[in-house]
């Protein structure tokens, strides 16, 4: 019983992380119709920048809640700027290109980000400048929250421990999701986003600045990935090097969440993320921890074969 509740708790916190990343995938897919492979790299950058910024803040005497708020804001701003640059330079020239080309470009952008981030104190030949990347060694997130247990609930013969970090993840994810929900369904911008994702050409004819709307959608997705990166390193303080396969895998699992929920559907992404979190954590706890990835990808293949549009997706008619 305790194991069940504990598993459920951890799956909800992991699931909301997946949901945050999945939101970015699903929003980009909704408007641009391609898998943004670079999303996982942004998530990775968010994680690494969080560690650096948190360390800098702690060194300057900022601790506790202000440190968390400040570092998450700074990380989101950095990654958002980067997302804007990526969208402008790599994706915008390909607006009318075949989807496969955009997909390959996205892979290229992901590789570029990962490998630039992995540079470690490299001297540029002929100049005095050196590039300080994150290197190829694992990093460490300093502890922003001392004394990690928030509270424990007695249950039967034992106690269920609720982590502060888990609470933070859940709280912050819910806040971000509510903000996103508000933006998408209650503002003019959101209406423009929905219109552009529904039919970009008609939206343009109706006077919606489609290019700008797509950029903003992309940027919002990126900032969510950055926030997820921060929360991820709060939960798992030892950070993998930028080129590690783990980042790509995490991103893929989040994409699976988006597909399971119905790609292009914001609420679906949240449900899909939670579902993936539960599946992964329950599988690891009750079956075998070695096959975490297998459960998720098996679910993906199952969903794609049985209901390719996902739980909330609507069927799209293939147009000639």
């Amino acid at each position: 019983m305790i194991k069940l509740v504990q598993t459920l708790l951890s799956s909800i916190s992991v699931g909301s992380l997946y949901a945050l990343i999945a939101l970015g995938y699903t929003m980009v897919y909704g408007t641009l119709k391609f898998i943004n492979f670079a999303h996982a790299s942004i998530f990775m950058l968010g994680a690494w920048f969080s560690a650096i910024i948190a360390a800098a803040l702690l060194a300057n005497g900022v601790t506790g809640i202000p440190a968390i708020v400040l570092s998450i804001l700074i990380v989101m701003v950095i990654c958002t700027t980067l997302g804007f640059v990526i969208e402008r330079l790599a994706y915008r020239p390909l607006r009318d290109a075949p989807r496969l080309n955009v997909l390959i470009t996205a892979i290229g952008v992901a590789l570029l980000i990962e490998n630039v981030a992995a540079l470690n104190d490299v001297k540029i030949p002929g100049t005095q400048t050196t590039i300080h990347g994150f290197g190829t060694q694992p990093g460490k997130m300093p502890e922003l929250l001392a004394n990690a247990d928030l509270f424990s609930i007695p249950l039967g013969s034992g106690t269920v421990v609720v982590d502060k970090v888990d609470a933070l993840i859940l709280g912050l994810s819910i806040c971000l999701m509510i903000v996103l929900e508000f933006i998408i369904y209650n503002t003019r911008l959101g209406a423009a986003m929905r219109a552009a994702s529904h039919d970009a050409r008609t939206a343009a004819l109706m006077g919606i600045p489609v290019d700008r709307t797509i950029s903003i959608t992309f940027i919002i997705g990126t900032s969510l990935a950055a926030a997820a990166g921060f929360l991820y390193v709060m939960k798992y303080p030892s950070i993998n090097p930028p080129v590690a396969v783990t980042w790509g895998l995490l991103g893929l699992k989040a994409f699976v969440a988006a597909v399971v929920g119905g790609i292009g559907n914001v609420r679906g992404a949240v449900v899909g993320g939670l579902l993936i979190g539960i599946l992964e954590q329950a599988g690891a706890a009750y079956l075998s921890p070695h096959f975490r990835d297998v459960y998720v990808f098996a679910l993906l293949i199952f969903v794609l074969l049985v209901r390719p549009t996902g739980i909330f997706g609507s069927t799209a008619v293939e147009k000639v």
């Binding site: 080309n101 590789l111 070695h290 990835d293 297998v294 794609l304 000639v320």
Partner: protein, 365 residues
């Protein structure tokens, strides 16, 4: 499809070239002095790697280039081939010859076992290719990419959980299940006999290129290309698109499996599941994309160039992937079809112009 294998001379020439390469390239401490260039066994190693890269890139071109599907699981098929053949030769050698590496060298009994294992690797891999190709009936483009990627990762996770490899002493008291799952786990399959060499690698590589080129020229190749250009129109014209999409996957997987088998036996000793992750698949995709989607000679040239480049630029190894990434992005924006596009090297206009004989101008008196 049998027509693709027709003819004797192309294959004889392929095998001859491979044999010459095997004889010429130095092994061990041998060296060839060319004055400016000293060719040692390192060159032999790189030549072998090039051969395998050619097999992988050219076969991936069938799926990604001709048929316009997008597979990111090519390294997965490579892994299946590598493990199947390594399993066969390792346990087969123990069974038949009593020792895992008793029969190394060209044209020994071990070679016969090796060739059998190559075929088996190709067939098992093709079977998996068929299974992975099935979702392509319902999925398009990027969804398919994710499924193939997921396939590769599932495979890797499963291979990581296999049992240790058994040697000739352990095998006495092992059960059948233990022998079947004795694939080495996360440490990799160790003790693969080194049956492969330049002869096998380049024979297979050249034969792969011949078959893939013929495939492109054949009626089946036209069917593949029609699916790539417009699937709905192809279906309307009576092309059985499902059949061809699955076939493309199976054929590509066959060659990838054979390539993986050669890879396992060249390297000898170890095939690790973590070496066959999706970044390796992306390496092959880069070759296909840069060389030209649908261009066999383009893939060959890209495979050669992208294998030599990192070896010759060791000191810039940190920048290698950065350069690849920028190349990918720039190519997709500026030249989306790759260097040669769908054309072959000799069909490109500016190259033809170099070799065209200009008719002598006759001056009027």
């Amino acid at each position: 499809m049998v027509a693709l294998l027709r003819g004797f001379y192309p294959y004889a020439i392929a095998i001859l070239i491979a044999f010459v390469m095997y004889k010429v390239m130095p092994v061990g401490a041998e060296k060839i002095d060319l004055g400016i260039l000293q060719i040692n066994s390192f060159f032999t190693k790189v030549t072998g790697a090039i051969g395998i890269a050619i097999i992988m890139a050219v076969s991936l071109n069938i799926v990604n280039g001709y048929t316009g599907q997008f597979s990111l699981g090519h390294a997965g098929f490579m892994a299946i081939g590598a493990y199947t053949s390594a399993w066969i030769t390792h346990y087969g050698s123990i069974h038949f010859f009593g020792n895992a590496n008793a029969m190394e060298g060209l044209f020994t009994k071990g070679s016969a076992l090796f060739v059998a294992s190559l075929l088996a690797a190709g067939l098992v891999s093709a079977l998996f290719g068929y299974l992975v190709g099935l979702p392509s009936l319902r999925l398009r483009g990027d969804y398919l990419a994710i499924v193939t990627l997921g396939f590769g990762e599932i495979l890797r996770a499963l291979l990581n959980q296999t049992q240790p490899v058994l040697d000739e002493f352990d095998i006495e008291e092992a059960t059948r299940g233990e022998i079947f799952t004795g694939l080495g786990g996360a440490l990799g399959f160790s003790g693969v006999p080194k049956y492969s060499n330049l002869f096998w690698v380049w024979s297979v590589a050249i034969i792969t290129v011949i078959i893939c080129y013929r495939l492109k020229q054949s009626i089946h190749g036209k069917a593949f290309l029609s699916i790539r250009e417009n699937e709905i129109a192809a279906e309307a014209m009576g092309v059985p698109t499902t059949h061809y999409k699955v076939a493309a996957f199976a054929i590509a997987a066959f060659f990838a499996g054979v390539g993986g088998a050669l890879f396992a036996h060249t390297l000898g000793n170890i095939v690790s599941p973590n070496e066959m992750n999706y970044q390796r698949s992306i390496d092959f995709v880069i070759m296909v994309v840069l060389g030209g989607m649908g261009s066999i000679s383009g893939s060959v040239i890209a495979a050669v160039a992208l294998t030599i480049l990192p070896e010759s630029l060791r000191e810039f190894s940190e920048y290698r992937m950065i350069v690849y990434a920028i190349l990918l992005i720039v190519f997709m924006i500026v030249r989306p079809d790759g260097i040669f596009g769908i054309r072959e090297f000799w069909e490109v206009k500016w190259i033809r112009r170099l070799f065209r004989r200009t008719p002598k101008e006759t001056h009027a008196p």
